[in-house]
Each structure stands twice: as structure tokens, then as C-alpha cells.
Amino acid sequence: MILTLLKRELKVARRNWIGLAIPLLFFIIVVSLFPFAVSPEAPVLQQLAPGVIWVAALLAMLLSLEQFYRSDYQDGSLEQLLLMSSPTSVAISKILAHWLLTGLPLVVLSPLLGVLMQINHGVEHSAHTWVLMLSLVLGTPTLCLLGAVGMSLTLAASRNGLLVSILIIPLYVPVLIFGASTVTASLENMRYNGELAILGAFLLIAIVFAPFASGRALKISVG
Amino acid sequence: MSSWHEFIFMGKHGAFVWSSYFMTLVVLLGLFIGFRMMLKSLKKQVEVAAVAPDSKKQKARKLKVSQPD
């Protein structure tokens, strides 16, 4: 059942690819502003890189949320889905689609941003890029899961656009802290396993709670 | 505390100590007054609505089941 739902999400998204591309473009453009604003010198950029890339990724995830939930709510298909399958599985398919179409592309694009932000300055290898990707692989699904809860809660609310950001940004802070510090640790040639493990732990907690909470919230929004 | 002077100036930190207490007072008093006014205005509102004829009052409907003619 989840597979049927997921296939539909992917199909709809494919036809609507421009909507998906915009958050990614935003991700790149925001990051590329920093050299202008701060300094184009490699050591400075390198030091800023983890934070800047992570904040940009977080904002891109936030921006892309609307698209995955709003239209289903408005055209009535959300209520049909909730009539025919369990709210949790609807939430899971939404979250999976959101991650596959936004989180994963962000991960794939992140080496490019690493280059822009001079993340490998002063070293011959590209280990830092891999660490950045790894931190995003573990962190972005948590952002999707928490975002799903926030978005499901605000679907029926009247002021929605920015409301969801206010609700979930405080919840995003732990992921941001550990995501960015994983990369920072790597830049400082320190061990980063601990940070990655904690990111993984956050992901597990979110997997346990978020689909259920999001499903309940979807049900409330439709009712 | 040894003197009124010390009580008011709190060493050199009178402004810090007093502003903390003052802000606490203002915020909590503000809530108190706000909640009181909220209850009062609601009371008045209910009173007015009760006196007014049932213009806006919409009664719940019932289901009437019948056989077609």
C-alpha cells in the first residue's frame, strides 16, 4: 500500500519538477551569497562552511514542505487517501517522497557547495566532503520527519506559510547542532563518530514518533 | 541590608536588581489585569447575548426519515 502511495507521489512530483528544483536552487544560491557577504578567502569560508551549508539545507527543506502536502489537502485527495489507508502509512509515503525528492538531491548537491565553500582547503584528500554528505544523509530524514508533523498540523490553519517554520525551527535545532558539528569536527581533524551516532539516534527517535504524530495531525486537519 | 540608601541603590547594581523585579511585576500584573478584563468582557458579552432575542441562535436540527411517496 505504501508503495502504491509512494509511486503516485513520485509521479506527481516528476510532472511538477520545477517546484522541486526551486528549493534546490535556493540551497545553492543562499550558500553562494556568503563569499560576497563575508570574504572570499578560503580559510574563512572553510570555517563557515559546515554552518552555512547546514542552515541552507534546513531552509531548503522547510521551503519544499508546502508542495508535498498543500495540494493534496486542497484538491481533496488527502481525505480520499485517509479513507482508504491508515493515516500513518499516508504520512510515511509523504515523508519518503519528500526525502527522496528533496533530501537526497540536497545530499547529492552538497559536494558542489563544499567546493564553493572551500571545504577541502589545505588538504589533498576529499574526506571532508564525504563527512558532509554523511551528516546530511543522517540528518535530512529527521528534518523531513519533523517537518511532516509541523506541516500536517498547519494544513487546516489559516495563516500557514510561515507558521510551519515557527513551529518546527526550534525542533530542528538539535539536528542542526550535531549536523554542523560533525563537519566541524572533521575539519578540525577530530573524531566525529559520536556526532554521527547522535544524528542517527535522533533519526531513530523521529522514525518512531513522527509518522504516527503526523498521521494523527493529518486526520485532525481533514476532519 | 543596613540602610534605605543601600536598599535603593543595591550597591552599584540597583538598576539591575530593580529592573528585574519591576519587569516581573509588570508582566505578571499585566496578565492579571488582562485575564480579569477578559472574563469581565465575556460576562458582559454573554449578558447582552442573553437579553437579545434569539436572532443569531441557531438550533440544532434533527433527522426526519420518511418513505418516498
Partner: protein, 255 residues
């Protein structure tokens, strides 16, 4: 046990809750005022200044800061508990309680931040330090404001209640995570810790405990006041509310 259950159910009745809170409030206010009067006497006058760390009189800020900070946390946890009761037992009054705690809790969080900042200036020489507790308080304030904003964005109150309840529960699961993360992040950056400023000397205990008790009760009293307004707001069309408004029944009447 059976009695406790019955009482719990009675609390679910708006009329009963309104009458009971009306009976309790004068007592709570009385106790609050006495405790605060004595507490203020001690905290502003009859307690010594801090010498060991050279804080001097600024230690007096602690007597409002600590209760406010504690209540900001307790308030959010109470919201989550009431939200769970509302969702699980479908008890509508529990949602009214959640909504009533939110503004008072947010005010306490704001006060904790404000007094913390004012305390920080003479102590660290800066108004704001990204200290673990202060940062957590800031995020907590956002959580409170998020709840209030979410609740206000629905035209349908029962939807607002349920959505807000879910947010409160999700938030409370996150509070320890946020606190832990911020604390870890803070040690990484070797910040200060505001909590080490006032290591508790027995001489500071009397005013602190008095103020804690007084402000806790004040919190309860304010929440109950807000709750009474909320009950009336939600039951404007009930006969007992109309009778109460037109003064036909005693406000503190017997059940």
C-alpha cells in the same frame, strides 16, 4: 480510587470546574500574597549579599529568575500532560487547561530570559551569552509562541485544540533533546554557565524557597483565572453561563 476517578470526571464538567476554581481562587490568592510579601521582604531586604563570587546585590535577581525558569519548564510539561489527557480521554476541559497555561508559561519564559539577561550584564559583562540554559529558554519561548500561534490560526476551536495538543506533546519530547544538545554544544564552545553563579549558600535559601512557593502559587492562580475566562468563552451558550452572567446564581455557588 473510585472517588479519585469520579473527581477526575467531575473536573471534565465545565460548570463544576468553573465553580470549584471560583472557590479555590481567593484562598490561592491569599496564600500567594502572604508568601510573596514575606518572600520579597527576605529577598530584597533581610538577606545577605553574595561575597564569595563578588556578585554583591545582584544575587537578589536569582530570587525571581530561578522560579521563573523552573515554571517555564513545569508549565510546558503540564501543558503536555493536559494535552495527553485531552487526546486520550477526549476530555475537552483538558484542552482549555492547555490553552490557559500557554500565555502564563510564555510570560514566565520571557521573565526567565529577561532576568537572566539582566543578571548576566553585571556578572559576565554582557547582556546575552549563548549559555546552555539561556539558549534552551529561548527555544522554549519559541515553542510556547508556536503553540499560541498555531492555536490562534484555526477558526474551528476543536481542531485548534487537537492540533495544539499534538504540538505540545511533540514539543515536550523535544525539550530534553534540545536541552541536551544545547548543553553539549555549549561545552564545545566553552561558554559560561549562569547556574554556577549562585551556588546555594544557606543564607540564600530562605528567600529563594519563599519566592519559589509564592511564584508557583501565583502561576497557579493566573492559570486558573485564564481557565475561568476560557471556560466561559467556550460555553457562552450554556444556560449556567448565561445565569452566571446575569447574576442569577452565586459565582462561588455550591455544586
Amino acid at each position: 480510587m473510585a472517588n479519585a476517578w469520579r473527581w477526575f470526571h467531575q473536573l471534565g464538567s465545565p460548570k463544576y470546574l468553573f465553580q470549584k476554581t471560583g472557590q479555590w481562587l481567593p484562598w490561592i490568592w491569599g496564600a500567594t500574597l502572604i508568601l510573596l510579601a514575606v518572600g520579597l521582604y527576605y529577598s530584597l531586604w533581610a538577606s545577605p549579599i553574595e561575597v564569595r563570587q563578588g556578585q554583591g546585590h545582584t544575587v537578589r535577581i536569582m530570587y525571581v529568575h530561578v522560579p521563573a525558569a523552573a515554571l517555564s519548564m513545569i508549565g510546558y510539561i503540564a501543558m503536555a500532560i493536559a494535552a495527553t489527557v485531552g487526546l486520550v480521554w477526549k476530555m475537552k476541559m483538558a484542552f482549555a487547561v492547555v490553552r490557559s497555561i500557554a500565555p502564563v508559561g510564555a510570560a514566565m519564559t520571557f521573565l526567565a530570559l529577561f532576568t537572566g539577561s539582566v543578571w548576566g550584564k553585571p556578572t559576565w559583562g554582557t547582556w546575552w551569552e549563548w549559555d546552555a540554559r539561556m539558549t534552551s529558554e529561548l527555544l522554549l519561548l519559541f515553542l510556547y509562541l508556536g503553540y499560541i500561534a498555531l492555536h490562534a490560526s484555526f477558526s474551528d476551536r476543536s481542531k485548534a485544540d487537537k492540533a495544539g495538543a499534538i504540538l505540545a506533546i511533540v514539543g515536550v519530547i523535544n525539550i530534553p533533546i534540545i536541552y541536551f544538545s544545547v548543553k553539549w554544544w555549549n561545552t564545545l564552545h566553552q561558554g559560561y554557565s549562569i547556574t554556577e553563579k549562585g551556588a546555594l549558600n544557606p543564607a540564600f535559601q530562605t528567600p529563594l524557597f519563599l519566592m519559589l512557593a509564592g511564584i508557583y502559587l501565583l502561576f497557579a492562580a493566573l492559570v486558573l483565572m485564564r481557565l475561568r475566562a476560557e471556560i466561559v468563552l467556550r460555553n457562552q451558550k450554556s444556560r449556567w453561563v448565561i445565569e452566571w452572567a446575569s447574576g442569577k446564581t452565586l459565582e462561588r455557588g455550591e455544586s
